[in-house]
Structure formats: structure tokens, C-alpha cells
């Protein structure tokens, strides 16, 4: 049977539906997004985003606010299942957003991305549920600050976050099988773009 369900959370009907929910629920608090924003962020056709948002609003999971001609969508924080749904989305689809927040403002980071099994499932590759999140950090940051950010994120994500910190040269030279494997595999951007 062919399934379009997201590998990280196959409870949802489709990967697009999960991406739209994630984009709405993982946005910084109080930041509404237009239908066009959601379409861009999720790589989904505007018509599909509109239909999904209509369903979510009818179910009381999101709410809309009109500012001028723009309809801004936010999670409905009064919904009885808001905390549960947010937790589900954060733990499954949220690592990139959570780590981006945790790493924001830390000096010395040129780029950061998630690799490994979580990145593969996020990109739609089938397989076992990821046991942890593998984070690649490129630059010359304070290693202790990176580990502290990972520890802070682990609680929210409910799984270990393992950081690999490399200088720009170490990453571009890729003198180990491990780095070649990482570079060949899927990467999900967290900070900037990995070169």
C-alpha cells in the first residue's frame, strides 16, 4: 500500500499536512503566518494550504486573524489539546526549529544542520524511528556553549542531541569516511547553509 504519511509521525494523513501543522505550531509564539508564508515554508501549493488551514480552523486547532487583506494563522493556544499536539509536533518534527532557537546568538557558528537518521526520516526516507538527533556544527564556537544548548534542547525533544563540532577546514577537507557519509546523506538546515 502506498503511503504519503510522514515517516516521523505517520499519524497524519500526509507529509504536507504534517509540515503545515509543524510550521504553524513551531513558529515563535505570537508570530502569525499568512497562507503564502505557509505555502513557501512547506513547499506546498497555496490551494492545499488553504484547504488544510480551513480543516484545522474548523477543528479548533488554529485561529486566523485578518490584518488588512492578509489572513494570519496561529495555533489556538486555548484548544484543549494544544499542549499535547505541540508536544507531539515538537518531539517528532521540531528538532530543527528547537535547535535553531537554542543556537541563536551563539558566536562562532558558520552553519549548523541535522544529519543522520532524523534528517533521513524528515526528508521522507523510511526506516526506524530515530533514537537521537545528530547535529553538525561548523565554525569555531565555544564547545561548552554548544553542548549546553544541546542539553537544553534534549528535554524539549525527548531524545539525546549529539553535536559534532568541526572547523570549516575539517568539514571541507572531509578526510574521514564518517564525514563523507554525512556529506552524502540528507542534511536539514538549522543555522545558515552548510557549504
Amino acid at each position: 500500500m502506498r503511503s504519503n504519511a510522514p515517516p516521523l509521525l505517520p499519524l497524519f494523513r500526509s507529509a504536507a499536512q504534517a509540515r503545515i501543522l509543524a510550521s504553524i505550531f513551531l513558529a515563535p509564539e505570537g508570530r502569525g503566518q499568512s497562507l503564502a508564508d505557509l505555502a513557501r515554508a512547506t513547499g506546498t501549493l497555496a490551494g492545499s494550504v488553504h484547504r488544510e488551514v480551513e480543516r484545522l480552523e474548523a477543528a479548533g486547532l488554529v485561529r486566523s486573524e485578518r490584518i488588512g487583506r492578509t489572513r494570519l494563522i496561529q495555533p489556538d493556544t486555548d484548544a484543549p489539546i494544544y499542549d499535547d499536539l505541540r508536544g507531539l509536533i515538537t518531539k517528532t518534527l521540531g528538532p530543527a526549529a528547537v535547535l535553531a532557537r537554542a543556537l541563536a546568538g551563539l558566536p562562532g557558528i558558520d552553519a549548523a544542520a541535522i544529519f543522520g537518521s532524523w534528517a533521513a526520516r524528515y526528508r521522507g526516507e523510511p526506516g526506524d524511528a530515530p533514537a537521537d538527533v545528530d547535529l553538525l556544527v561548523i565554525g569555531a564556537p565555544d564547545t561548552g556553549a554548544i553542548y549546553a544548548a544541546c542539553r537544553a534542547s534534549e528535554e524539549e525533544l525527548g531524545r539525546p542531541v549529539n553535536a559534532t563540532i568541526l572547523s570549516h577546514d575539517e568539514w571541507t577537507e572531509r578526510d574521514s569516511g564518517f564525514l563523507k557519509t554525512v556529506a552524502r546523506g540528507p542534511l536539514v538546515s538549522v543555522v545558515g547553509e552548510v557549504p
Binding site: F115, T143, S176, F178, T181
Partner: protein
Amino acid sequence: MSLEALARAGRIVSADAGDVAAHELLERAKRLESVALYAEAALGSGPHAAHVRELDRMRRTRNRVEYDEWGGFGAAEIRADLERARAIVAAVEASWPTSS
């Protein structure tokens, strides 16, 4: 090649890099495991909780490098972790009961 030498050389260590012979890695892992268990017991929680957390992270990294295709680390991590390891050893030594 010692970890210090690797750090000086700025090399990346990974499960398949071939920098360290497999049997040497295994022996080192066994020694590290014993030291780690003792250090964890000696430091416990309280003021040394941060040391225990660091030790656990380093042990996790070691396990991933040895057994997981997604394990590796950079020279800056090795240098910083050597300092952390020295601080942990110093804390363990300070916690040893002195004979009177």
C-alpha cells in the same frame, strides 16, 4: 596515536578512519568504561553534577564513534574534552579518601 597527538595533528577520528587500530580502540574503551564508572560513582551529584554530565556526553560520543556510522568529532572537541577530562580526574582525585 594518542588523543593528544590527534588533537595536535588536527585529525578527525571516526569509526572507519583507520587512525587507531581496532584492538587498541577496544582496549582503550574498556579502560575508559572502568574509569567512567568509578568517576560517576565518586562524583555523584551535587557540586560535581556538571562533571558527571560531561563524562556521560564524552562516553556517549565514544560509543557513537565506535559503534555508530554517525559518530565522529573534530579537533576542537578533542582539545576541549581533554581539558574537561583533566578537570574530572582532578575532581575524582580530590574526592579520594586520604589515609591518616
